[in-house]
Structure formats: structure tokens, C-alpha cells
């Protein structure tokens, strides 16, 4: 923690950046912090309650942040994939952001309760994590509290894998009913989109009115159309940070939906959202050797 605070202080004092986006103590666990004054750097923390993906504040739609000037951002390995995504898709320039990557051994599913990190308490998205050691960074800070641990892997959590397996086992009709039931609760507030680091379109298809692609009202048909469109647009782009799920006032398992599609992309295109911005994502590339067998 001291190391992080000192680094932030230095970056702000020597004018490298105007703001350090990190975590601070919040009313219900840790929360995003925006440090512009080096004297405030002591506020910064990093622990298992730091669930938010701060890369979402680099999204150019966060004008209140871009107005502050050049930013340094504290990321976990998983969040670094969103930074890479924004670079890959030309939303930010690599040279314009200072990445402070933290070694991470998992975060809590419920950060409001500061509990020991175990298989029961670890976030569903940490199961099978392969980015505990981030590769995309300017500064890399190792965990002080796990110096002897050779690998900082999170506790084993198979919940997500089990949920996916259960979905795979369903017949198409059962799966349709499963999602129809969940999506029937959607109120089309689009909080999922607004909180997402990778939703940066200036004009979303959901708001196109001439022609009207998707009815704006919350009806079963329109909800399915909206969430299907969003998750397909996120295919191979979603970094599984669950910002959408945290923002959803109807508590729809949007993270599960996105993960299901991400797994399909992995199977079909051998691609996972990664922290290397030079690797093109399947949706953003045309290849002449593409199978295209689905089109025949």
C-alpha cells in the first residue's frame, strides 16, 4: 500500500499525470478514488475489496475524468484487459495513460463484508484467473501480504464453470426460457451499458430512432433484442469485470450471459479478451482464411 501511495505521490508531484485513479476506503467496501493532489495520495488502498474495474474511467465517455488531464490508473490483471481493449479500439492512446498494475490474488464477491478470501467468498469471475500477473503496465506492484507465495492464484472457485456447464446442458428451448425469464425483468434503463468500460459508442443502436432498430420500451421482445445485441457486440471484447451486473437495478445475471458468449468465441475463434492490444479481436478483423462455415 505504501509503495502504491508513494508512486502516486511521485507521479502527481513530478507532473507525469494530473490524476491517479485508484481505490479508497468507501462506505461499503473500497470505491474508486480520483487523486489530483499529491497530499491526498495516502488515501489510496488496494485489497480484496477492490472489485471495480477502474479502466472504465478511461472510457472517453467519462468526460468528467478526461477533463482532469492525463491519468494514471490502478488496474488488476483482469482490468488491464479493458485498458488493452480501449487501446486496441483506438479509444485511448497508450502514451496518454500510465498503468499501475497490481498483482492480485482475487477479489471478494461481496466487498461489503471484509472477509478472508476463500473459495466461498472469492468473486465468481476469479475462478480460473490467468492474469494474476499482469503484462500490460508501466509500474507493477507486487502484493506485500503474500511475499512467500510463489503464485498469487486466487482460491479455487468453480461456480461460474458450473453455471456455464448447466447452461450447456440445457436444450435450446430450456435455455431460451432461462434467459427469457431473466431478461423479462430488464427495465431498459441501460445502466449495464453506461457502467461498461467497453461500451463507448457515441450513438448506441438502442437509441437509433430513424429507423427504429429496437423498441425502447421494456417488453419481452425488445428486452431480448437489446440484451442479445449488446452481448453479441461484446463478444470477444467483454473483459468479465461485472460492472454491468453491479449496476443492474434488476439484478439480471448479465455477467453470466457475457461469459457464455465469451466461451463460445474462445471455442470458435480461439480468442480470449487479453491484455495485449496488438492482438486483434475476432469482431474487429477480416481474415481470408476464415472458415465461414456457418454461412454455407
Amino acid at each position: 500500500m505504501k509503495e502504491l501511495q508513494e508512486l502516486a505521490r511521485k507521479l502527481l508531484s513530478d507532473g507525469t499525470v494530473n490524476v491517479v485513479i485508484g481505490y479508497e476506503e468507501g462506505p461499503r467496501g473500497a470505491r474508486p478514488a480520483f487523486i489530483t493532489d499529491p497530499k491526498q495520495a495516502d488515501k489510496l488502498i488496494f485489497d480484496t475489496r477492490c472489485v471495480q474495474n477502474l479502466a472504465t474511467y478511461l472510457n472517453p465517455r467519462r468526460k468528467q475524468i478526461t477533463q482532469l488531464g492525463k491519468a494514471a490508473v490502478v488496474v488488476k490483471g483482469c482490468d488491464a484487459r479493458a485498458v488493452a481493449g480501449l487501446i486496441r479500439e483506438n479509444q485511448i492512446e497508450r502514451a496518454n495513460v500510465v498503468i499501475i498494475a497490481m498483482q492480485c490474488s482475487g477479489v471478494l464477491q461481496n466487498p461489503e463484508i471484509d472477509s478472508e478470501l476463500t473459495s466461498e467468498t472469492v468473486s465468481v469471475r476469479c475462478g480460473g484467473c490467468d492474469v494474476c500477473e499482469p503484462k500490460l503496465y508501466d509500474h507493477y506492484l507486487k502484493l506485500a501480504h503474500t511475499p512467500l507465495q510463489s503464485s498469487p492464484e486466487p482460491p479455487i472457485n468453480t461456480q461460474r464453470a458450473e453455471q456455464i456447464a448447466a447452461l450447456e446442458k440445457m436444450t435450446p428451448a430450456e435455455r431460451w426460457n432461462f434467459w427469457s425469464e431473466h431478461l423479462s425483468r430488464c427495465i431498459r434503463c441501460h445502466a449495464c451499458r453506461e457502467a461498461c468500460p467497453m461500451c463507448f459508442c457515441v450513438q448506441c443502436t438502442a437509441e437509433k430512432s430513424q429507423p427504429l432498430w429496437i423498441d425502447p420500451s421494456a417488453t419481452p421482445r425488445a428486452n431480448r433484442a437489446w440484451q442479445t445485441m449488446r452481448v453479441l457486440h461484446q463478444a470477444g471484447r467483454c473483459v468479465d469485470c461485472l460492472e454491468c451486473e453491479r449496476a443492474c437495478p434488476e439484478h439480471i445475471p448479465l455477467g453470466l450471459l457475457a461469459r457464455y458468449v465469451a466461451d463460445a468465441v474462445d471455442r470458435r475463434f480461439e480468442y480470449k479478451a487479453c491484455d495485449d492490444s496488438s492482438v486483434p479481436a475476432p469482431l474487429g478483423v477480416y481474415r481470408t482464411d476464415d472458415d465461414e462455415e456457418f454461412i454455407r
Binding site: 461499503r28 480520483f34 475524468i65 427495465i187 431498459r188 457502467a195 420500451s217
Partner: protein, 355 residues
């Protein structure tokens, strides 16, 4: 109006009677996706209701102003357009063991719904609904109902207020509608211990929430109106994503958008859908110009509307202090703390001496 004493069996019998009469009964129940959480949902027996445990995730708003609602249907004919209006007279429904602040929120919103236009759909549902509140004892550090002039035992908006006492409930009758609901149920004679127990519980509940945030001074509204350009607005909402989840769970946010959706070339429906001033497109002009360009301006609007514009126009704060906005916020915005900070700024400034 006289209060009544209900045993647990009396309350169960009342619900059974309502259900048998096909009256929709809504109460807090365990959420399907998360048994730790509560949602207001229709129930069929007393056992399904889970109250006195915690605040529900969403307020009662959706039962009066649904997230999406049909206003009318239209059909184009050779002679013009045929309009089919929807009924605004609603079947009776009873909301059971509501949190008192949620009931109060409805009464606060009544004012704008009966301002320059009387919203018949809203009032149709209000008229058809009887609200039985339950003394709130489950407040946490995010609750601040007492600072907006309400309290865990506020009777505003409720027809009955139940307080858990030894052997049952003391039912405080607030309105004739509440009295009518209790007809033939419970006892008019209230055990002395129940009366004393209820008073003690109410006083204890009030004390508990009053610790969180002091009463918001009436002059805060004037300070907000005068300090539209205060530099603090630039930094208060940095962590806000503008997702509007706060508005969805808010018992008093009531903005909506009206759209026409075609079912075919000649037929369609006009619907109104919840909307939120926290999203970018809420104020974007046809020209592309957006007078609220960043989240700083949009968050300021939320605070100004709740704590200055609404109080100026309707004489009360557009907030019940339920704290749901803070609990849902993925960015960790905390309304009671932010309001507290703004009040401190107001009190420190030269214009603040009157606060």
C-alpha cells in the same frame, strides 16, 4: 380513528381473506436470485411475506409508475386515426408491511403528479391501493430518513402502520381506507403492554437513524439555487458512471419518456418509460448540443432537483432518505455523505451563515 391490536393469526386471516377475494397483495419476499435480498412481490399467504429483516432492493414506485406502461393504442383507418385509451381505474391492491419511507415517497410524488396535469394512471393506482406499513427497525448507516423530515415510523402515505409488539401487532389507523381494511379483524381493545411496547420501539428506531445525518436545514435549498456554479460540483461526481441505477431504485425519481411503437404499419402503442437525468441523452438537443455536457452537470441536476427545485415548487424534499441510490451505485457514490459535505460547504461559506 381508533387503533387496533392484531395477533399473528389475525394478520394471517386478513391476508387469506384478501387473497380469497382476488385482491392483489404485495409484500417484501426473498428475492428469487438472492435469498439474502428482498423484493416487493405479490404474495398468496402470510408465510411468504418477509418483513422486519431489511429494506427491499427496490421501492414501491413500480406498482404506481411501472417501468413501462401503455398510455394508449392507435390505429390508422381510412377516415383518420382511432385512439383506444387504457383504463385508469385499477383493481384494488394491498401493499403489506411496506417500509414507511416507501409509502411516504408516494405522497411526495403525488404533488408533481397533480401539478400542471393530473396523472390519471398514477392516481388510479393510488386510489385502488391500501398501504399497510411496518415500523422500520432495520436501518443501516446509509439510511437518513429523519434528515429529510420523515422517520422510521412516519405515517405519511400509509393507511395503517403496524408495530411489532408482544403477541402481535399494534395497528395504528391512519386513514379511513386503513380502518376499512381492518373491519372485523383484531381487537379494538389494546393491551397496555402493547401500547407501551410500540411507543418504545418507535422511539428507539427514531434514535437509531437520527445518528446518521442531521436534519437538512430548510435554507439548504436556497444555497443550492444560489450556488449552481460552485466549484465543488466539478469534483463531487467523478466516480459517477451516469448509469442511472440510482434513479431506477429511487422511490421519488419519477421522470419518464414517451414513445410510440408500431406493431404494424397502421397500428401501435404509445408507452411511457422510466427515464433518468443521469444519462447523457436525457438533455441532448436535436442539434447535438448537450447543455449538461458531463456527469458533473448531470449529478448537480439530481441534487438540485431533489433538494432545491422540488422543495421550492412543492414545499418538500424529493427524497425519502432510504439510501437505495448509495447501495446500488457501482461507483460508490454516497448521497447522505455528499449532502452532508454540501451542507458543510454551505455553512462554511459567506452566504452560509444563515444555515
Amino acid at each position: 380513528v381508533t387503533n387496533r391490536f392484531l395477533s399473528h393469526a389475525d394478520l394471517a386471516a386478513l391476508i387469506a381473506e384478501l387473497v380469497a377475494a382476488n385482491t392483489r397483495v404485495i409484500a417484501p419476499v426473498r428475492a428469487k436470485d438472492d435469498p439474502e435480498q428482498l423484493d416487493y412481490l405479490p404474495i398468496h399467504s402470510f408465510e411468504e411475506a418477509t418483513f422486519g429483516v431489511r429494506l427491499t432492493r427496490r421501492s414501491l414506485k413500480e406498482f404506481f409508475l411501472p417501468p413501462s406502461e401503455v398510455l394508449l393504442r392507435y390505429r390508422q383507418t381510412k377516415d383518420g386515426v382511432e385512439i383506444q385509451e387504457v383504463a385508469t381505474e385499477m383493481p384494488p391492491q394491498v401493499i403489506l408491511t411496506a417500509t414507511p419511507c416507501d409509502a411516504a415517497g408516494l405522497e411526495i410524488v403525488d404533488k408533481v403528479m397533480n401539478w400542471d396535469y393530473r396523472d390519471e394512471s398514477w392516481f388510479g393506482r393510488r386510489k385502488a391501493t391500501t398501504i399497510v406499513s411496518f415500523l422500520c427497525t432495520t436501518m443501516d448507516a446509509t439510511c437518513f430518513c429523519s434528515s429529510v423530515g420523515l422517520g422510521p415510523d412516519t405515517s405519511r402515505g400509509s393507511d395503517l402502520l403496524l408495530v411489532l409488539v408482544e403477541g402481535g401487532y399494534l395497528a395504528q389507523v391512519i386513514t379511513p381506507k386503513g380502518e376499512a381494511l381492518l373491519q372485523g379483524h383484531g381487537e379494538a381493545e389494546i393491551p397496555a403492554s402493547a401500547q407501551a411496547g410500540a411507543e418504545a420501539a418507535q422511539s428507539e428506531a427514531r434514535k437509531k437513524v437520527e445518528l446518521n445525518l442531521s436534519a437538512i436545514p430548510a435554507s439548504f435549498s436556497t444555497w443550492l439555487a444560489k450556488n449552481f456554479d460552485h466549484p465543488a460540483w466539478k469534483t463531487l461526481a467523478l466516480r459517477c458512471h451516469g448509469c442511472g441505477a440510482c434513479a431506477s431504485v429511487c422511490p421519488t425519481c419519477h421522470c419518464f419518456d414517451i414513445v410510440d411503437e408500431h406493431d404494424s404499419c397502421s397500428e401501435g402503442v404509445r408507452r411511457r418509460n422510466w427515464d433518468s437525468c443521469q444519462t447523457t441523452k436525457f438533455t441532448v438537443h436535436a442539434s447535438g448540443h448537450n447543455p449538461r455536457a458531463s456527469q458533473s452537470e448531470r449529478f448537480r441536476q439530481r441534487i438540485e432537483h431533489k433538494f432545491s427545485i422540488y422543495p421550492t415548487r412543492f414545499g418538500e424534499i424529493l427524497c425519502t432518505g432510504c439510501g437505495r441510490c448509495s447501495r446500488i451505485c457501482p461507483g460508490g457514490m454516497d448521497l447522505p455523505k455528499l449532502v452532508g459535505e454540501l451542507i458543510a460547504l454551505a455553512q462554511a461559506g459567506p452566504e452560509g451563515s444563515s444555515l
